[in-house]
Structure formats: C-alpha cells, structure tokens
C-alpha cells in the first residue's frame, strides 16, 4: 500500500529556533493535514490544506505555524520560533479526495524543544 513519508523521525531544537517538518503525501491525494500529539494527550488537529491553500485550521495553528506545498510533492510544516510546549509528535496525513474518507498517516516526527 502507498505510504505517507515523514522526515526526520526525530528533531531536536532549541527554544526560539525555526523548524521545518517534512512530509511527502501519497502522490494522487488532494487533501493534506497536520496533526500533533503531545505526550499523554490526544491527537489534535492543526491544519488542513487543499488546492494550494489552507482549508481549515485550529486555534493551535497560530501565526507561528505555516504550511507549504512548495513543489507539488512535499508538504511542510514550519514553526517559526519554537516554544517548549511545541514538543510533540507531529503527524502528516493525506486522503485522495472528497467522498473518500480514509486518512493515510505518516509515522510521525517527534519534535523535542529544549
């Protein structure tokens, strides 16, 4: 089965630094998502992306966050100035299109902010 690929698997950064998390969604998928899971807490929706723009975002997704699909295959999440509370597992997901409700998830990037 095709897979969503996320890199790196682990990222350690200093507070205040910028990080970019990388995702390669499945090639013919149209909808893209970022979720995060802080240790011990539930998986939280961050943002959805369709047709080269954000279609929905949560209150977590503030001005420090941005997403981009720079080249038609990658889907990146940027955190401009990381905070300690940004430490979490970040999951990228994609799905084929409207009417297909299965989300395909990557294996996640564990972000640790020191």
């Amino acid at each position: 089965e095709p897979e969503v690929t996320q890199t790196p698997s682990h990222q350690v950064t200093q507070m205040g630094q910028e990080v970019i998390l990388h995702c390669v969604p499945i090639s013919n998928h149209l909808y893209f998502y970022w979720y995060r899971q802080i240790l011990g807490q539930k998986v939280e929706f961050l943002v959805s992306f369709y047709n080269n723009e954000i279609s929905e975002k949560s209150e977590i997704f503030d001005d420090q966050f941005s997403v981009e699909r720079p080249d038609g295959s990658n889907f990146t999440l940027k955190i401009r100035s990381t905070k300690l509370e940004d430490s979490a597992m970040y999951f990228c997901a994609s799905r084929p299109g409207q009417g297909v409700e299965k989300l395909f998830f990557g294996s996640g990037t564990q972000l640790s902010v020191l």
Partner: protein, 112 residues
C-alpha cells in the same frame, strides 16, 4: 459540536480473551466513524470505518465495531486478543467532510 469520548484510557486483557474498547460520539447527524491503531514508534493505521452502510463493520486483524445510533456508540471488539494487539487505539469522528476529531485514546495491554 462534534466530540469523541473514549471511556477507558487503559484496558488490560489476557491473551485469548475478548477485547472491548468503548467509544461514544457527539454529533448532530450520523457521522463517519473510524478506529485507528498506533503501535509503538509507528504511524496511525486504519482498522475500520463506518460510513452509514452496515452498522456492524468488520476491520483488519479480526476487529469489528458496531454503530449504535440510539446509544451514540461505536465500540471496538475482538473475540480473542493476541499479544500483537497491544497498542493504542483511537476512535475518530469525521465532521464536515474534512475535519477528523480524535478521542483521547485507549492503551490496550495484552497479558500472556
């Protein structure tokens, strides 16, 4: 408002005994519901989904779930647990065709 409640944060069963992981949803209409499993250091894998067809849904690895509208429930069951079933399980509700709400997860422990 949409929400998903998983009633048990941890469930422990013996190998070979039945598994029951509970999920209740809150939705103003019949939602699409899913169960995902997360093994340690792995991504989230879809076990099964309900999308308003048959109320009893069969998934992978012998799991099934029954949608009960009167109880707003979508509990996950398996007749006989295997050691390899030990993982975290998430009940997920799809809202507004695009937004997936996750429950808080249930960690399943399987004892030999």
């Amino acid at each position: 408002a949409q929400s998903v409640t998983q009633l048990d944060s941890h469930v422990s069963v013996s190998e070979g005994t039945p598994v029951l992981l509970r999920c209740n949803y809150s939705s103003s209409y019949s939602p699409s519901l899913f169960w995902y499993v997360q093994h340690p250091n792995k991504g989230l894998q879809l076990l099964l989904k309900y999308t308003s067809a048959a109320t009893l849904v069969k998934g992978i690895n012998g799991f099934e779930a029954e949608f009960k509208k009167s109880e707003t429930s979508f509990h996950l069951t398996k007749p006989s647990a295997h050691m390899s079933d030990a993982a975290e399980y998430f009940c997920v509700c799809l809202y507004n065709f695009n937004k997936f709400y996750f429950g808080s997860g249930t960690k399943l422990n399987v004892k030999p």
